[in-house]
Subunit: 635 residues, 2 copies
Amino acid sequence: MNHPGHLIEVLLFIILLFLVWISFTNFGMVKRFLIGRPMRTAELSGQHTKLLWFIALPILSADLYSSVSYGPEAGMTELMGLGDGAKWYIIPITVSTVILLAILITSYIMGILAYPSGGGAYAIAKDNFKPRWVSLVASSSLLIDYILTVAVSVSAALEAISSAYPIVAPYETELAIGCVFLLLVMNLRGVAESAKIFAWPTIGFMVCMVIIIFTGLFECTRHGFVQSTTPPFGTVPKGISTLLVLKAFSSACSALTGIETISNAVPIFREPKQRNAIKTYIALGSITSFTLLGFAYLLYVKGISPSPQNTMLSQLTGLYFGHSIIYQIIIWFTFIVLILAANSTFTGFSQLAAIVAADGYLPRVLTNRGDRLGYSNGIIALAACASILILAFHAHTNALIPLYAIGVFLSFTVAQIGLVRRWLRVKGSRWKIKLAINSFGAFITAIVAVIFAVTKFMGGAWIVLVVLPILVFFSLTIRKHYNFIAQELHIDISKEFPEIREVTTIVLVSGVHRVVNSTISFAKSIGDNPIAVYVGFDDESINKMERKWEEWGYPCRLVVLKSKYRSVLEPLNRFIKIVEEKRGHEGHIHLIIPQFIPKRGWHNLLHNQTALQLRLWFLRHKDVVITTVPYHLKK
Amino acid sequence: MNHPGHLIEVLLFIILLFLVWISFTNFGMVKRFLIGRPMRTAELSGQHTKLLWFIALPILSADLYSSVSYGPEAGMTELMGLGDGAKWYIIPITVSTVILLAILITSYIMGILAYPSGGGAYAIAKDNFKPRWVSLVASSSLLIDYILTVAVSVSAALEAISSAYPIVAPYETELAIGCVFLLLVMNLRGVAESAKIFAWPTIGFMVCMVIIIFTGLFECTRHGFVQSTTPPFGTVPKGISTLLVLKAFSSACSALTGIETISNAVPIFREPKQRNAIKTYIALGSITSFTLLGFAYLLYVKGISPSPQNTMLSQLTGLYFGHSIIYQIIIWFTFIVLILAANSTFTGFSQLAAIVAADGYLPRVLTNRGDRLGYSNGIIALAACASILILAFHAHTNALIPLYAIGVFLSFTVAQIGLVRRWLRVKGSRWKIKLAINSFGAFITAIVAVIFAVTKFMGGAWIVLVVLPILVFFSLTIRKHYNFIAQELHIDISKEFPEIREVTTIVLVSGVHRVVNSTISFAKSIGDNPIAVYVGFDDESINKMERKWEEWGYPCRLVVLKSKYRSVLEPLNRFIKIVEEKRGHEGHIHLIIPQFIPKRGWHNLLHNQTALQLRLWFLRHKDVVITTVPYHLKK
């Protein structure tokens, strides 16, 4: 039996191992190659040039607009269980989605009016709610949804490609992980989200969608607006239930994720910022609504069914253009725009994580700027989480959809209620209208969130509903830890001052050789009377050591310990306990351990890492100062 | 769409994460629970009670005898490409295999006569060849084959189970990894290979095989020794070639692995050891031959074809006994014996690795005895390698077979040539007969090794033929490294003696707080004039630090450094370079870094691991002594 597939896999595995090896041994070089030279903090300012609104539109819309490629399909997939008779529901569902979109955009415009410097859900919640868990619900659910955006967008991108080229279908998961890795590297290099070059693919994709819709409508003028393929409208198929329709509706709502991007990005608009941002919202809302409605109508007219091998967008395009060059262009634009949607999420995630971390609710490392000034740790965390999701769900968009969007709608709701509280507090011009809009918005988004949670619960939403409170709880715990530390570390400088105390120096020796020589030399240089400790596993080696030490001229006091369990740690720990008891907890105990440093990293595998193990254990369990004296091998 | 499969996978994943978490936070406890209390070195002696030969027989035969369950199947699988007409070849192929078995056993008996204290291929080669790479070829190919034995046996065990219970078939890989993990834990606990309890399943399996064969033969007396299902004998199907027959032969030879176990274990026999070991060899050879021949004949008579869902042993058993309780018993005995075969390999691998490592050709850690006196590191390495193989080949026995057995035959050949050289050198009683036997054995095993390499090359043998020289090369490099170190570390105790040198103490501080207080306190206790170094990312923080230091009363000299690239490492390194240049390479440079030690391990994630990063970098790149002063947080 031949297994050519296995051969290729084994070869790829070997290449992968080799690359991992290279990366470990020449980490700095590989990093420099992938990421580029480090940048100074001073280069941070002046990154953003202010954008005209019609240029900002495509740049900021990749996330929302790209969702049209999977939203209607997700809705239709839910309906398919009931046969062709249920297909017509896609029309009212899409209309409801578009109405919801209009409500959301109106509410978001209120947000822009309230927070002209860019107010994400977290900032709005923080400003308007006293209990911090409310804003943490907003931030955590957004963070979760950003992770899902990457997983869903990249999976959908790969599904687009494998619809056109079925040969890549078996490798979807691997290729998706590869795309996430590329996005990771690009973002660590620091691709500015607002780079104008990102405008073109989105414009291209918009044009593609418009062409498809007009081609379809034109075709309808010739073959009729109800065709032989069109399923009957208005029939109520057996087994349909409100719950099922709502389930399809919530799946279709995944097309609405990414709506928050513009309101976060108000500062990058040219003056008047708010006006321009609002203009962009209206334009984006219009084109998205048009696309959703047109696309859903054509899917319905042509009676297209979802298929795991071929996305509905690809089926529809194939129907009008065959597998021509136009088809190829449309598929590639879909792919690129979905990848761009994932890309813009990287900035969103890492910035939000940094803001929350700066408030002390997430690990501080998330606020560190990397070599290229991006929040590298957040970027890496996002890539890692998204990869795990892609792996767990085998890059199936429709399997990920049930987890998706619930976070967005939760954070929408929190933000809207926050705005309601703000209008009640601040008032201002025409506040009653604004209040009404946001109250209605809050009401609707809350209902959608509940519909989501209920209809998608078993399908996967429960995962989000379990992870979310855990995340909020951890955030609060983290803040408590930081508060505690600040308290614990605080000193009264008028009362506390470094004192000189007695130091007992213990040097671990393993024989009489050059490493021991240099270690004892250091120990004697920093204080008198170090104690050398030798741990032997049998009487023979202990006697030999004592003899040799004598011959060497007894450079310092030697204590020999016998280990019954072949461990250095246990007898050494016993000895240190005795020293502690002898002198109370007054002085410092100072343990000096020599360590080999081979020239080549892998040579470390050839030496017992006793030094490392001892260091880790004693640091964790004892109040012992630990010194490592390196001995650099020449080879 | 519901994805119950995904739900279960996600749940299992969460449970796995939880277990990993528990293991990391309570490593000691989990280890104690799984592995048991540590044992004293003194408990090592007297582990072995000497065994009667007929008790040793089943204990030592699991490895060889269990192979009958997959060897004939592997051979038949190769023949299947040519249809039923080629099936009769299984008879001459099995006869050749049995003849080869007889030759090998005779040769191995010569080995026992030459090395009564137990001579593995490595020991024999070491004793009889000057160039060390020869014995390394023997040891490395055996080590590779031990890894394959675990992978193949466990995969075959799972295939037996999933033949009987198809419901577990999709989880074969996961379950196989689970079995390897169980074997790992068992072996870390230190299951003595010679435990008498292991005799019973093998005896049970032998009885099962004998029952099947006699049932089959009895059935033949009623329905004829050539039945309607029997394919025609002696026809030469179109497309058959010598190469193909040889390929099937080499696959069938995988039934011969594990033959070396008895000769390695001579010391555990009761006196007269050699006689008893030889008796055991003859008995084992007889029963294995009988089983192979009988099994192959029945497979042929019944015209059974290999199937990926149902092993041939399971098909044959099903034919005679249906899915009765007898069938279940046979399947479970097959499973247990195959797992026992993998189990005995753990001892073989770790002991061989320890012997080679003691000679300096493998990392020394392999010679360390763990808590339970087994060579834990070798055991862990074997489990890891076998798991990777199982993953890479999706636990398909037939995909692993082409890699298998080539190592065994290579080491057989080396050992036999070694024995030939020994007889020529030592001579002794009847040495000419022994010489003749081993020469013939060497000739035959060499030919089989070549047949293997040629016929299986593309199927996977190339992997072994690539890995083997790499392993040998690495072994030689490792020895060179150890030799070099021994030389480099050696001191002339009459000339070299620890000297007192000047020490420059640098303390890294991050502000004025309790941690800095305790660190400076230690620094001042071991020497006068430490230099505190503060690295700031902007002017503001630097000015603030200088002011605070002043207010505190200037406990020691303070140097402030500004980092343009938000890194502590780079300015600190610059500073240390300046210190080095100032004082030449005479004195010690001593860098003191404080480190937070939180009470809970996961709290480490909340602190920048600057201390750790600095320590790793400086130890590797600079001749700087590094001290960690722990600060234990109360929470």
